[in-house]
């Protein structure tokens, strides 16, 4: 009991890759000592609040802040006139016209909650009072909340774009019309996957401080992408990158919601400048979090496909209409991902799906864990089961007939190298006893269903490169620092990257400390999204550790008058590679390196940018990822026909993750994804009132999975050892969320013969569908 974690695990700390090392920040977390942006406090710190639009759509006629400014305790008020009116957005590189949001809007507001200014005061009470004293004159405009309405001619025009369609994304390959004519069975289905919210427990929070003597600004942030945040701050504040420091604190969950600079981040900085350099903290309430952060796109998915009798999938066509909300954010690329993921899964030659991202006067849709793939996964994987049924084929057999294989190039030029999809399916069905159960438990109202998914490790979707940098610094006493730009948002990347650094350097994990995501200290990293960190930042870390090791071995080689290639460091020892003989300890080698004859500082650097080809959005072609991850998921359910409740008996997830750097952590990612998938399947549905305000924007009404009823989950790691991955690893933070809803919907169909095409799956929908089925069967008689 008295052992510390470090002592307890010490022996196992050598060769850490592939072992469940304890979280590097574990003690900080369990003692409450680790600091989130939420916990950053300074003397004389001011409280900032955003001035928000009460209207869904309106022209700003005038803003009078004089009364608020005169209120005792108010230190600064800012509006658009204090800014340079520079727009920012997230798809600037590929879709420049979608850069559509101002740090503070000056002419128009486009949703209830839209930011037009901010106040800073000595305390929250004064700041809230100041908000009431801001006098804004609006000319209210007609608004539109439903994307299908917004697309109709004559609908209120939210931005400049025609019919409120911000982006049309046509993805065409082959000749689907001709191919469909050759199909033995064709069906068309409509699915709807609603908006949802990331609902990270830590709300958006930041502290901004302007250094008036140097004109530098620091932002303590809860961010998944501190360098992207810095870029947007520098752009909108018209500063150089090295004038802006973003310090990522411990992050209390992100899930896509903390990828971008928000007006609050900009405002905290500018308010501090106006307040003479006093730090300003802005912390969202839960209500603001639902209103004015980011959310998942609600998607209408129409899909029509044809198959041959033997199960060959010949063509897919369809249409995706996504509710984008008031601004574009990451929307265009989310739509692309919602369409193109299918190429990683199924060998398909004829394809035409067009995506529409539509503006509405509602909160802004952005990237949420799964990046469009969750909505698409529900639609496509449900549809695939329906196709299989149409030709009387087992859903697993149907998938095995059509799935992608290792070492193939997809129709849109994605290069799939290692591909464990078949192994995932095989292992999942074996473990779940598919053949014994599928179609055979209807008498118990029990059923089993499958869904498959694939994911990228990065995507080059926000700039021309997707680089990550790492520095490994070895101190004189043998302790090691890893500096990485990657943002640990709770997934444990600091731990995994530290394991990777120690493994490559050849030392024990107990030697390392990790500093991540501080734009003034750590190298650049694109950010934590697209399941990219283990793969891309991991590769940068391997290179940095290798460089540091080379610097140490150079000294050893000189000292022993041998070639550097003769040596390696493994398990804390310098060894002779040829003879495998022990040469000296790591500590001894380091002592040599730092001794006066050599006197070298050991500072290794690594930079990695995957050799990929960005998607050409005119053709849909591109190889976006350096490697691809795969999985198969199975759900077993029992449906209560009386009350419509669905009980999950068990979930299985077999996952090609290349190599588990930290098996426990990898399992945690899968279990967490499954829980989020369960939430989206059964309860999460962020919906809006007639004016576009969230109708359930709090934890009382937006229901999340809780501990009661958590089903058993079995995770099966499939290790394909990708040659491009660090120690063979792939990314895996998102994929397990993609097929959950479909696997469950398919299981429900297997159990009671009803097909739910609109999420969430509620008892009411089950009862209604059962009733309809019963009526249909009666009519047949």
């Amino acid at each position: 009991m008295t052992t510390t974690v470090r002592q307890k695990f010490n022996k196992e700390y050598i060769n850490p890759v592939g072992k469940s090392m304890p979280r590097i920040d574990g003690r900080g977390i369990v003692t409450g000592q680790i600091k989130y942006a939420f916990d950053v406090n300074f003397p004389n710190m001011l409280v900032g609040k955003m001035i928000r639009s009460p209207h869904a759509h309106a022209k700003i006629i005038s803003i009078d802040t004089s009364k608020a400014e005169a209120l005792p305790g108010v230190r600064a008020v800012i509006t658009a006139k204090d800014t340079s009116n520079i727009k920012f957005g997230s798809n600037e590189y590929f879709f420049p016209h979608t850069v559509d949001q101002m740090a503070l809007e000056s002419e128009k507001v486009r949703y209830i909650g839209d930011e037009i200014g901010a106040v800073a005061a000595v305390d929250e009470e004064t700041a809230l009072k100041a908000l009431e004293l801001i006098d804004v004159q609006y000319e209210v405009l007609p608004s539109v909340v439903d994307p299908l309405e917004a697309m109709k001619p004559g609908a209120p025009s939210i931005h400049e774009s025609l019919n409120n369609i911000a982006v049309i994304l046509p993805v065409n390959f082959g000749n689907p019309e001709r191919a469909l004519k050759e199909a033995d069975y064709i069906r068309e289905d409509f699915f709807y996957a609603p908006a949802a919210h990331m609902a990270a427990l830590e709300p958006h929070v930041c502290v901004g401080q302007w250094e008036t003597f140097s004109n530098k600004v620091t932002l303590w942030a809860s961010s998944q992408a501190p360098f992207k945040c810095r870029e947007a701050l520098a752009k909108t504040l018209k500063m150089d990158l090295n004038d802006v420091r973003v310090i990522k604190m411990a992050v209390g969950g992100g899930f896509g919601g903390k990828l971008e600079m928000l007006p609050m981040d900009f405002s905290a900085c500018l308010l501090s400048k106006k307040a003479g350099g006093l730090p300003v903290k802005i912390c969202y309430s839960r209500e603001e979090e639902f209103l004015a952060s980011r959310r998942k796109h609600g998607m209408h998915y129409r899909i029509k496909s044809g198959v041959k009798k033997d199960g060959t999938l010949v063509a897919i066509t369809g249409e995706v209409i996504a509710d984008g909300g008031a601004y574009c954010s990451y929307g265009p690329t989310v739509i692309a991902a919602a369409i193109m993921r299918i190429f990683m899964l199924y060998k398909i030659q004829h394809f035409r799906v067009t995506g529409y991202r539509v503006y509405t006067n509602t909160p802004i849709s952005g990237a949420m864990r799964g990046f469009g793939g969750v909505q698409a996964g529900f639609a496509i994987e449900s549809h695939m089961d329906m196709l299989a049924e149409g030709i009387g084929m087992d859903p697993v057999e149907f998938r095995l007939k059509n799935i992608t294989t290792p070492n193939m190039v997809t129709i849109n030029k994605m290069v799939l190298t290692t591909n464990g999809l078949k192994e995932c399916i095989d292992k999942a069905i074996t473990s779940a006893q598919w053949n014994k159960k599928h179609g055979k438990q209807k008498h118990l109202s029990r059923g089993i269903g499958i869904g498959i998914a694939a994911d990228v490790m990065g995507s080059k979707m926000y700039k021309s490169h997707e680089s990550a940098g790492s520095i490994v610094k070895v101190e004189e006493d043998g302790s090691v620092y890893l500096f990485t730009g990657a943002a640990d948002t709770g997934q444990g990347s600091n731990t995994a990257l530290s394991q990777i650094a120690c493994q490559e350097l050849g030392v024990s994990y107990s030697r390392i400390k990790c500093k991540s995501g501080d734009t003034e200290i750590t190298p650049f990293d694109t950010g934590s999204f697209a399941s990219r960190v283990t793969f891309i930042s991991g590769n940068a870390t391997v290179l940095a550790a290798r460089d540091a090791k080379k610097q140490i071995l150079e000294v050893v080689a000189q000292e022993l008058k041998l070639a550097i290639d003769d040596f390696d460091i493994i398990g804390e020892e310098v060894i002779n590679k040829k003879t495998k003989a022990h040469v000296m300890t790591f500590d001894k080698a380091l002592e040599l390196a730092y001794s006066f004859n050599y006197g070298q500082q050991i500072i290794g650097r690594g930079s990695y940018n995957p050799k990929t080809t960005p998607i050409d959005f005119r053709t849909g072609e591109g190889n976006v990822s350096g490697s691809y991850g795969f999985e198969a998921q199975i759900a077993e359910v029992e449906v209560n026909k009386e009350n419509g409740e669905v009980k999950i008996l068990k979930l299985w997830d077999a996952h090609d993750i290349g190599k588990a750097i930290n098996p426990q952590s990898a399992e945690g990612q899968i279990e967490g994804s499954l829980a989020m998938g369960l939430g989206y399947t059964f309860m999460e549905n962020l919906h809006f009132d007639k004016k576009g305000r969230p109708a359930n924007g709090n934890f009382a009404n937006y229901r999340l999975p809780r501990s009661i009823g958590t089903p058993p989950m079995e995770t099966i790691m499939v290790e394909t050892n990708d040659p491009e991955g660090p120690f063979g690893a792939k990314g895996m933070g998102e994929a397990a969320l993609l097929p959950t809803a479909a696997a469950i919907a398919n299981a429900i169909y297997d159990a009671v013969g009803i097909r739910i095409k609109e999420l969430p799956i509620t008892p009411e929908k089950i009862i209604k569908a059962l009733k309809e089925k019963e009526d249909q069967e009666k009519n047949k008689i």
């Binding site: 977390i29 409450g32 209390g252 969950g253 839960r286 709770g490 279990e671 499954l674 829980a675 009661i708």
Partner: protein, 157 residues
């Protein structure tokens, strides 16, 4: 001046009367280990222990707990020595972003202090007020069970 007993230490705090315990802990006493994610009693993130019971500090007036024994996450470890629950949360991989963890650990402690061998059902019930968005609960259940075993063992020793 009101006298608050937090983690067996006495604090004299000038209360106006309307402050919640959460505000006093975080803002007046700089005990920022206790978090909140909703400030309206829905998420469990602000859970502390008062007289042996798991209580939400966001809806508890500080003035109402004057003289009562309040334990926060900062009061669990004994110097460098972690409490068994803190150990097992690390060992079982129950922590991800960590924001729910202080509340989760306090709810677990209130349960295990009463019942070191809880059933699966009892654990789920005791933690149902604590939302975790990252981890999906299974590893948290493991951590609670393991901690219970350690606590029972320590007790008998």
């Amino acid at each position: 001046m009101s006298k608050l007993i937090i983690n067996k230490r006495e604090y004299n705090v000038d209360l106006k009367g309307h402050e919640t315990l959460l505000e006093v802990l975080r803002d007046n006493l700089s005990l920022t280990g206790t978090k909140t994610a909703c400030e309206e009693s829905e998420c469990g993130t602000c859970t502390v222990i008062i007289n042996g019971k798991a209580i939400l500090s966001c809806i508890t007036l500080a003035s109402a707990v004057e003289g009562e024994e309040v334990t926060t996450i900062e009061g669990l470890a004994n110097g460098d020595e972690l409490h068994p629950i803190q150990h097992t949360f690390i060992d079982c991989g129950a922590v991800q972003c960590g924001f729910c963890i202080p509340g989760m650990i306090m709810s677990s402690k209130a349960l295990l202090d009463q019942n070191p061998e809880p059933t699966q059902e009892e654990i789920e019930y005791a933690l149902d007020g604590n939302i975790c968005r990252c981890a999906g609960y299974l590893k948290i259940f493991d951590a609670v069970k393991e901690a219970g075993k350690m606590m029972k063992h320590d007790h008998h020793r």
